[in-house]
Each structure stands twice: as C-alpha cells, then as structure tokens.
Symmetry: C3
Subunit: 398 residues, 3 copies
C-alpha cells in the first residue's frame, strides 16, 4: 500500500522549496505555490508514516504553545495531536491570568513564552480587524527577540483561525479533495459551490468561506460563492480569490442563490456565517461594553438570518449537482435540521449520507498542522522525514 | 528482589488471553477471568519494571484523553501518571466548551478527538443510569468510526468511575489485597465486610461498594454487605455479586449492622454512599433544574444520614474482626471523625493506625490503569513488556 | 564557541558536592555554597547543551507537578519548559477541586500526587507566614511517605515563589550577573542597589527583594537596600543578608533614598513591593473574610504608595550610577511610566534602553529550574550530563 510510495514522495518533497523555515503560517494567500504544495505533501507523508507505524517524533523535547481567544474542542485537539506527532509537549496560555493585549505587553509575553518554544498556535477569530493583527504582532515580536539574541530559536506562529483566514481548515479541506478526486491535478475544472446556509445562531466567523474562496481557485477549481444580500465577506479575500483564479486557471464568480451555485457543482460547501457588517458592529459594541446594544444586534441578526431559512442543503438541491453526487463538505459542527436544531444548514437526510465524509475531511487537520510545524521548524523537512523512515521503527503495537 | 521474577511473570502474562485488544474496560463484570488476571499481572509487572528503573515507554507518541464530569484530583493524577508511564501525553476534554451530550454529538466528538488517541478515560458518576450509558456511547462511536475507516486506530475507553462501577479502584484494591495476603490464591475464604458508614455529606456515588461486591466474590472471598435500611445499591450489581459468588466459590450475603459484618472479618471497607433512591431523585431534580427541590432533598438526606451516626469504624468494632487485626480499606479521602469532620466514617484513632495502608492501597491505581491501557492497545502485552526489559535500560538516576 | 568548554564545565560540576539529592529547594539561604554554585553551573551547562542541539532528556517518563496559589504566566511557562527540557510531563494541581489546605489533607494529597512524580513546583506568595510553611509541609509529607515505603521515589519540592524567597528568580538573576560581568568572581566588590519603586498597585510580594538581599552578599557584592519609611522586609531576610555579607566578603547596608542607593552602583534593581505590615494586615483580613476591611486597606495602602511617586528609576538617577551605566534589573513585568501606567517604577526612556537586558535576565529561569530538578533528582548530575553529550546527538533541525 502506501509504504512503497514513501521514498518517492520524500523525493518530491525535497524538490519543493517552501521558504517557510523560521517563518509563520498566517494567511494561505501569503504562501507560495511551492509552500502550499510542500505543506500538503508533508501532511500526506506524516500520515503515511503514522499509518505504517513509523514514528515522526522529530523533537526530543520542545514546546507547542496555544492561545485560544475563542472556544475550541476540535482545533485544540488537532493542535495537540499535531505537536504530539512531532514530539512537542503542549501548553495553553491562559489569558485570564496573563493579559496579553497589545504593544509592549505582546512583545514581552511573546518573548517570555518563547524561550524554548517551537510553535505558537493562535485562534483569534471573534473581532474583525483584530485576529490577524494580533497573530502578526506575536510573530514580529518573536522575530525581534530572536534577532536581538534573546531567544535562541525562532518559534513559528501558526494561525488556528483568525478574522481573515483559517488555513489549517482550508488546507485540510484541500487534502481531502486531493484524496477524494485522486490528486491535486484532478481538481482542475471542478466546480466548487461555497454557499451561505441558514443557522439559528449568529456571529459565526467569516474565516472558513474566506479561506476556501482564496485557496481553491489556485488549483484550477471554479469557485462559485453564493450568499443572501448583505452577507458579504471581507473584500480583501474576494480580491485574493480573483487574483488566484487568474493565475491558477480556475475561476471565481458570485451567484445569487444556492440553486444557481449548486447547479452541476462537483463539490458543495454550504455553511453559515455572519455578515461582515454585523461582525464589525459587534466588535464595536463589545469594545464599548454595550450589553443592550449586543442584545439588540443579536435579535436583529437572527431575524435577518430567519429570512433565509430556505438556504438549506437538501436532497433536492444535492440532486442538481454534477451527477447528483457532489462531494459535501463542512468544517463541523454542522447545524443539522431536526437534529441539532429545528432548521439549519443541512437536512438530516443529506447529512446522514455524508457524515463519514465530513469526519474524513476533519481527519486531515492534525497532519496539516504537523506539516506546517515541520515546514517552519526544519530547514530540510524531506531529510528529517527520510531519517524517520531509516532509524525509527515504531515501538507501537508489537 | 523483584527483578529475578520478572521473566516468569511475563511468561505467565503470555499464557493469559485477555481478549481485550481494541476493546474497552467499562465494568469489571464484563471482564473474563483471564482478562481480570491479565490486568492484575500486567499492573504488577509495570510496577516491577518501574521499581527496577526499566522504562515502560511503549509509545513514542500518542494521546490519552480524559473527560471528568465530576471533580477529581487523585484519579486525574492516576490517569495522567498511567499514560505517562507508557509514553502517552494527556489532554483533558473541557466540556464547558464542547457540549458533549448524547446522540450525534457524542458520535461526532468521539471521532474528532479520536484521530490520534489511544485511550479515553471517563469519569461520569453523578447520575444514575447515565454514566455507563455515556461511556458505552463513546466506545461504540469510536468503534463505528474505526470500522468505517475514519479512525486509523481504535482508542479504548477506560471507566474512571461511573454510576455502576469503579473498576480502576476495585482492581487496585484487589492488587492491594493480593500483595497484603501474599497472592490471589490466599484470598479464598477470607471475609470482607463492605459496609456503609456515616458521613456528614450526601450524594456520594455508589460505584465503589458496587464495584467491590461484584468483584471480590470471584476470588473466593466471602463478601458481606451491610448498610442501614434504605441505603440500597443498584440491584444489577447485587445480582452480579451473587452470580460471581456461585461461580467463584466465594459468597455474598447481606447483614443488617456494622457489628455483624465486622465480626471475624479479615478485611473491612467502611464507606459512605447515598441511597440509590436519593441518587435517582437527585438526578430527576437536576434534570428539571429544580433548585428548591435539591435543597430540600439535601436536607432530608442529611437528616436521614444523621440517624446512623453510629455507623462509624471504631477501635471497638475493629476489635471484633479476625484476631482484631482486619485490613482496613478506603478509596480516600475518608471522613475522619474529629479531623476532617466532627463525626464521620472512621475514628481518628483507627485511621491514624491505618493511614499508610490506605496510601499503599491507592498506590496501585496508576499501575492498574496503565495495565488496562496496555491490555487494550497491544495484541501481545507480554511481548512488549519483554522488549522493555531487553532494550530499555533506564536513563534515570544514573 | 561554548561546545569546547562543556567537558571542563562538567568536570567542575563533578567537583561540587551539592548535597541536594532527594532534597528540596525552598530558600536560597538553606543552600550551601557548593549547592548554589552547582545549580548555577548546571543551569549554564543545560543551556550550553541546548544551544548545541544536545538533548538533555534525562527522563524517559515521569511527572513534574505544579501548584499555583497566585497568578503566573512566566513562571508557569518556565517550570513547564524546565520539566520538558529534562523529559518530564507537567500537570497542574487544580486546588479548586482538591482543597489542599493543612495538616492531614496536605499529607494525603502530597502522597496521592507523589507516586510517579519527580518534582513539585509551588508558588504560594500571597500570605505572610504561609507560603514557606505550606512548601515545607508538602516536602516533609513526601519525605514521610517515601520513608514509609509508600512512595517509590522522593519527589523534590521547588519553591516557585513564597512569602519569604523566590530562589528561581534570584539564582536566574545571579546567572545573568555572571554572564554580564564575565564570571561569578568578577562580582566581588560590585555595588547592587535593591530599591523600592513606586507602583499604582499594592500587595506585591516581598520575595524578590528578600531573595536578592539574602543571596547577593554571598558573592562578595555590596548590597544597598533602600525603601521609603515603613516598607520593611521580613527581618529574617535582613538577618540572612548580614550573615552572608560577613561570611562572603560583601556588605549589606540600608540607605534612605533611591539617589543614595543608586550613587555609583554597578547594578540597580528598582522594584515595588508592599510593606510587610500591610501584607500582614491583608492576610488577617483575608482570613477573617473582611471585605470592607480589604477595600479600606487597599485605599490606605495606595494612598501611602502615592506619597512616594518620586521613587521612579529615571535617566537622571541612572546617570548617578557607576559610569552612568549600571545594569538595570527587573523580574518583569515592570510598571513603566506612561506605558503600562501613568506613573510607575521606571521611566519609558530608561526601560526602552534596557528592555532586552530584562528579557535576557528572564531567559535564564527555565535553565535554573531545570538545574534544580537535576540537582535534586540525580545523585551525580555531572555524570548524567556527560552521558547526554556522549549518547544524545540532537535529532533537531537536521
């Protein structure tokens, strides 16, 4: 099975110059093509090695630090699993006791927690205009202290979801597509419908749809975005989508209905998000500590959502996709109508059929995060993986 | 000392077919005799190896996940220590952020946290009819996703205390008995008094007495259960006690007073628990969110408890045991009269004498949990322990 | 660079008999000179090895436990990093679920969390007369259970800050001084000003100034303590300072102003702390649960602080130091005037210049803690470090 292909894949990885050593992974659109492909291939290799019982414990010690400014079970687990795959212990920075905010405090904290740290994973997706800025500030503070000789190593910052992008999700999704369709090359000319879907909750981050539309056109995929009026994404991300479509041979278009987007689609990604304008007002109200305003905004936003309850992924809609058998994608958890809520993003009938597909989609995330750590922490990732194969017979399941 | 006996013990372990590989440890009465003995012997071996400075780090990486639905310091530590003994990093699933409840949510969460997980330890002992059900649901969800090819390995679920059983406690207790009396065979015909004892608190789980009465008769022990009227245990567990007594050559009887139970006993286990009926009403009130009802129930239950303040393990009672020197057992922490409370389960005079016995009893738990992980995660536990002896000279205390 | 000097340093370490094996590190003034020098040299060696990519993973498994009775980001991280350097996994004891207080409870908890633990790191600095007592109680409980044969190893207790001392800070500070001035010998005759400084907060522990004045005179340093009237330290620590000054060839004097202390100083350490009497009254009020009293005390203390706003480290004051270029020290975070507060311990202009010096000062703490673990857990620290050099080529950054 996969074992025989490992040396060839390692050789391929060796031919890719990701340029990521001692750098960060903050936005997928900052990655060169080689970097993107190196992460995907390294994720595949780390998974192959793990399946074949070959340990990828590259670090004898070292720390992976996480900062979660929003709730998380799955990504927290995936980060922990990724660090563990490579031999890093994880520690979470509890901000309730540390007050990392901005400016000097960030610079100091970044240094204090950076002395023996290899990677800092950050989720900060609640405030438009904040998450990416904070991640960038942590990264440049670490860089400064490294250059000043205070830090003996330059920990990498990995974006575990920001206001702009969710690269560990979008790259895991791309791994899933590559496996499903038989290779990255096979994705050229496929149609992907990234659509809004109804949810009885509000305030869901924009990072997943933004990450998908910005990444997928690079692979020659024809991406169609559809959402109700007003549910706009951050303009910068649409701009990225258009640029990459032009460069990568795919296309990026906007449709006005789920039906139009689903029509003949090979892949559908129906998912709720909050309108950019709501997120912006919410950020302002939170800053002002305006509780009454927040309650009012929530009511208004939910009422507005409710006007679009028909944005639900149903059997009838799925039937309109290519051969009626488009691949359904979701970052999970999904709002399943009649299961987790009265009416939601997807009908129970559709979700029942695709459940294991979505689980499989999620399964790539630990390996993608591990690949990002590998790419940013080692000058020659191919060489270190090759050494794993040579010297590291697994001690597991003997 | 123990070092010379290790190869013989490994050979004994090799002769036991536990049938536990890729299975769970939820209830001791689901374990075959071979499985029970394999866990005990593996626990002994892991302790022997550790004492002799031989590393039992069987995993190069991998995760042990815990879910605690009730407070815990000792079991949390024991699970962490057990995982660490074998090379697993631990991560706790924080349900305040993840809402694992029932049905699809459990199935999904079990999968999302199962990708690179070897063992999931769960404490869920507060609600009658809930704990075992939840553990079973987690286990079958993992099994399903493993069979569907979504999980590359089949994490085992280990019961760290449920509404029905507390197998890591009862098996650690059995290890303690075997060490104290000089072997499992020596336990045949010994009399064990599992009795209720007074405590100024209410709502203590039933799992310890239930686990003890269901497990000990299998070893040919004569188990006597005693409690005040109304402090009944879950009937299923009494049924198990009777069956195992018949099969194992021990006996299971019910006495109506502490004195009767203590009379000529070789082992006494005086411990408070809540009546099954109180636990059931509490569960209903908690579900209904009936705070006034809960306050009333607590008052009623404490008043009822107070009628049985004479159920205290005293010197006078201890004097009635076999040669006046029965082994005192407790899962800790004990309510010691005049120390941790005005009146409690045991007098200060008795507890002062037996304190280190109870500490020793507790000391087996990390090794028993490690043995459960070993038995469920490796096809041939004897072979992997043998390899530890061959290849793994400790790097400690050089 | 450093690599060539490693064997010589290991030989030096071998010549020092620290007497710390199976002991604790609670107060620096309990350390013999050999012990103090052994910790400093081991910290230097562990850093050298790490910089040279030589793994110091001495433990194949084992646990480092922490108990934080006060908020901490930096020391928590430093403890975690230190344990990780040596191969220990860390676990934090959450007292909200465990109620470790005094007496039997401490004895029992110490044992229950000690079975497979190598080191227990404790921060308990809020209550005068409490922190050191609690650390001592934990240590003697572990010792008792070890001697009783209940614990198979004797975990060491390391003081991560108490009411009396902060040895991981003061020894990291001493490492910093040794590096800055070119060796411990070069510190003889240097003048160090340990002075109070204004802060708009109250209740800061006394442990840092106490640790500094008690430790530095041992090295032949001339320590001058200065603080406003009433901001006294615990008398025992002044006594230690005087004794060590007499024995070590340094001096310990008290000045009445910042200016006097700074005059011709080679090293300045301006830092806020609460008067001992305020801490004592606060402890009493907290014990009595007197919230109104606490509010009143805080107001009174802040008003009193405000009378000494001119105790600020400014450019003008720094100009009075030796050649105007004294080394500025701070345990961080510092209250920087105009940055983290309107008026504080140090002017922005001074702090901007010395920022990286303070970061560097902090960088030694993980290595100092690792050295304390090494010294207390291994009979022959030099031998185990030597083995690291021989057998443990790093697998990092290949």
């Amino acid at each position: 099975m996969t074992y025989e292909q490992i040396p060839l894949k390692i050789a391929s990885l060796a031919s890719l110059d990701s340029g990521l050593f001692d750098k960060d992974v903050l936005l997928s659109w900052q990655l060169s093509d080689a970097a993107m492909r190196a992460i995907l291939l390294a994720a595949e290799l780390i998974e192959d090695l793990t399946r074949n019982g070959i340990s990828t414990r590259l670090f004898d010690n070292g720390l992976g630090l996480s900062i979660f400014r929003d709730k998380s079970t799955r990504t927290r687990y995936a980060f922990c699993a990724a660090c563990n795959l490579l031999g890093l212990a994880t520690e979470e920075l509890d901000e309730s006791t540390s007050q990392v905010s901005h400016g000097e405090t960030v610079r100091e904290t970044a240094t204090m927690i950076g002395f023996l740290t290899e990677v800092v994973g950050i989720r900060d997706d609640m405030f438009l205009g904040e998450g990416y800025r904070f991640q960038q500030e942590m990264a440049s503070s670490i860089e400064d202290s490294f250059r000043a000789g205070v830090l003996m190593q330059r920990a990498s910052v990995v974006n575990l979801q920001s206001d702009l992008d969710h690269p560990t999700q979008s790259l895991a999704d791309l791994r899933h597509l590559a496996v499903h369709f038989g290779g990255l090359e096979r994705l050229r000319g496929k149609k992907l419908a990234m659509t809004w879907a109804y949810s009885p909750s509000y305030g869901k981050p924009l990072s997943v749809p933004q990450g998908i539309i910005a990444l997928m056109p690079r692979l020659g995929i024809d991406v169609v975005l559809a959402h109700p009026p007003g549910y706009d994404l951050v303009p910068e991300t649409l701009e990225q989508a258009r640029c990459f479509a032009a460069a990568g041979g795919g296309s990026f278009t906007v449709a006005s209905s789920m039906t139009e987007a689903f029509c003949d689609a090979d892949i559908v990604y129906p998912k709720s998000w909050a309108p950019m304008s709501v997120m912006q007002r919410r950020t302002d109200l939170l800053r002002a500590g305006d509780k009454a305003g927040l309650v009012a905004l929530e009511r208004e936003a939910l009422e507005n959502n409710a006007r679009f309850k028909d944005w639900e992924c149903t059997d009838a809609l799925m039937a309109k996709t290519h051969d009626g058998s488009a691949l359904y994608m979701h970052c999970l958890p999904a709002d399943v109508s009649g299961v987790s809520c009265a009416a939601g993003e997807v009908s129970a009938s559709v979700f029942d059929r695709v459940r294991y597909d979505t689980y499989r989609e999620a399964s790539y995330k630990p390996f993608v995060i591990a690949a990002m750590i590998l790419a940013t922490r080692f000058r020659d990732p191919a060489a270190v993986l090759d050494r794993c194969v040579q010297v590291s017979p697994s001690r597991r399941h003997g």
